[in-house]
Amino acid sequence: MIKIEDLHKSFNGMAVLKGVNLEVEKGALLALIGRSGYGKSVLLKHVAGLLRPDQGRILVDDQDMCRLRGRDLIRVRNRLGFLFQSGALFDSMTIFDNVAFPLREKTKLSEQEIREKVLVELEQVGLAGSEEKYPSQISGGMVKRASLARALVEEPEIMLIDEPTTGLDPLTGHTILNLIDTCHKRLGFSGIVVTHEVPKIFEIVNKVVMLHEGRVIFAGTPEEILSSQDDTVQTFVAAGAEWLTHDASCPPPMLERRKKNIHAL
């Protein structure tokens, strides 16, 4: 569904991506992990066609995003949903109007149908009752949920999610990840999640890719990353796993399984 081949990108002579290759199969959710500043969000913006690479290709269903222009690009973007790190809600609109916006502008649904659809979507993300509030009047977690509702209201085939838990407390962060998991199962989209939420993210994705200094140093399943022999991968995963023994929100059997995996590192 999404295939990235030999992607290179530099900003002001500084190489950020140095030949990235990865693939997301239809219906699969991929976690893109790695230290801050190593090009994860840049990679995501390339997939969305917001940035153009210096070299390489990004194929979405065999269509090269780097070559698409005008209506062809719009056609692909209409199949995409993007959850921004900042939420990127329109701050002059209410939450309801934000979620309704793509439906009003891109579909011929009646106002009544739009209202029903938006209210259902807001209910799904736990924002029922907050429709008339403005983005500045709600918390960071609610902004992320509203942004998720806006991205999902058109039922996209591909979701690109940029650090959905950044700036949130751990519990709210987990709620957001669980919500992404629920939506993924409900809608069956393919997607990429850029996150630092290790190892929690391993529970909801099918594949994990780790970027380090502009290159992919690991690509495999969540189980495989826990047993990776690469020092950098191990260090990153173990750093994220430290909280495991204190995770009260996790059911005991899963906690045991996690502990076993981490001890196996």
């Binding site: 969305a48 719009i74 973007r77 921004f84 990127a88 329109f90």
Partner: protein, 261 residues
């Protein structure tokens, strides 16, 4: 050698920027001329650029006309030509001061806000969000401002002219004793329809300049001005300065080449 390289780089950067401004104008005009036209957004911007500028236009128009009345009377009476106060005030306002001062006022009041609003949308990724929805940001953020400015600025100029003429009347006729019939009679004899149309043509040009520069500076916040709040602040300052300078330069160009006549 390094100095020459710096000059060369700076020149290339400026040429690229001008090219980008040209492409921006072409895209904006194309979005203004092709459907779907976002009528509610245009009406909202007319209300913002036009209606909400009325007070400032009223005040500046009145005081400009009053100053012209005083200065015109003092100067003309030296030559015994105070009967020509009406045409002097009328022509000065209609051909030059009305279009220019109205445009400068709109730049300061509405243009700066347009840049700040679009700039904040840029740095908070709201423009990226629009693009990723498969929607054209030019159609939603830029075209409504262009159309609204093209409609509002000539209307505001007309109001400025009328208020200014009555400001001159107040001083010339009511205070300094010029005959009311002479003031308006001579004005009607010397002010031609062409003069009025020239002033309105100029104001159309200035409306385009305001929308073009202010939208461009907002849209490209971060590209030329640095990021964050400081970037928006710099973009806003640059938009007001560049618009004002361009209005004055273009006014000189239009006047000297007599393009409209």
């Amino acid at each position: 050698m390094e100095f020459i390289t710096k000059i060369g780089k700076g020149t290339v950067r400026q040429i690229l920027k001008m090219g980008r401004m040209g492409i921006f104008l072409a895209k904006s005009v194309s979005c203004c001329a092709t459907p779907p036209i976002k009528v509610p957004l245009i009406l909202k911007q007319i209300q913002f650029i036009g209606y909400q500028s009325l007070l400032v236009i009223f005040l500046t128009g009145a005081f400009t006309g009053m100053v012209l009345g005083y200065q015109g009377f003092n100067t003309l009476s030296r030559f015994g030509s105070d009967a020509f106060l009406g045409p002097m005030v009328g022509l000065a306002l209609i051909k030059e001061m009305g279009p220019v001062i109205s445009a400068l006022m709109v730049t300061g009041r509405a243009g700066s806000s347009i840049t700040a609003e679009i700039g904040i949308m840029r740095i908070s990724e709201q423009i990226d969000a629009l693009q990723l929805m498969g929607l054209n940001p030019y159609r939603y953020l830029v075209a409504p401002n262009f159309i609204a400015a093209l409609i509002s600025v000539p209307l505001l100029t007309a109001i400025f002219d009328v208020v200014g003429i009555f400001g001159g009347y107040l001083i010339g006729v009511k205070l300094l004793g010029v005959s009311s019939g002479v003031y308006f009679g001579e004005m009607m004899s010397y002010v031609e329809m062409e003069d009025v149309l020239e002033g309105l043509f100029k104001s159309l040009n200035f409306g385009l300049i305001i929308a073009w520069v202010c939208c461009f500076k907002g849209y490209y916040t971060g590209y030329y001005t640095g990021f964050g709040a400081e970037g928006v602040s710099t973009a806003t300052t640059q938009a007001v300065v560049l618009s004002s300078v361009l209005i004055l330069v273009w006014d000189y160009f239009l006047t000297s080449t007599q393009l409209f006549v």
